[in-house]
Amino acid sequence: MIRVSEQPLDPWREIVVHQDAHPELAGRYGATAVFVGTMRNLNEGVAVEAMTLEHYPAMTGRELERICDEAMRRWDLFDALVVHRVGPLQPDDPIVLVAVWSAHRDAAFAACRHLIDELKTRAPFWKKERTSGGERWLEPGKK
């Protein structure tokens, strides 16, 4: 399942809500791998005050669905969840949640890593950060 949120993202609550909504999976998965990306207050040595996340609404959902579908086909997963924040953000705000559920950990880790890498490469989101020196659009960054 994928979702784009203009509201603050509570990734740990998202997971609980998602699991509660899928009782048919309870007892089936043995491995849950999760990645959460969080806004840092420092980027390349410069203090970051705030950030705006722009996206291409008509494309974002489709692209995230495509990325998830691909992971579900490639690995033996029970489920995958991707939630991405857009709009204005503050340091320490969670930006993205990727969670996958599978029987064993090999598939869970590989799929979770693949999902966030694909998302960062292909999903149409752009970060603009504000520092004391003004605003700047980010370049694709460190892994």
């Binding site: 291409y56 999903a123 149409p124 752009w126 970060k127 659009w137």
Partner: protein, 76 residues
Amino acid sequence: MSITVRYFASVRESLGRGEDRIAAAGVATVADVWRRAAATPLPPRLLAAINQQHAGLDATVHDGDEVAFFPPVTGG
């Protein structure tokens, strides 16, 4: 009909607008759309989508398509 052209992030800010609409006549590729609509040289590392799917600058554009231009993505 026509082609809807959309710009995002730094591309949108550079052009000073988020959207254009151009006639489809004489437009064959994504690069053609950029030259017609933006009327500036192709920026380095420009990415594009046709109808909300990633597309190369040499991809074929059809009447009625939505073509989008944007810089490398930085989500996640």
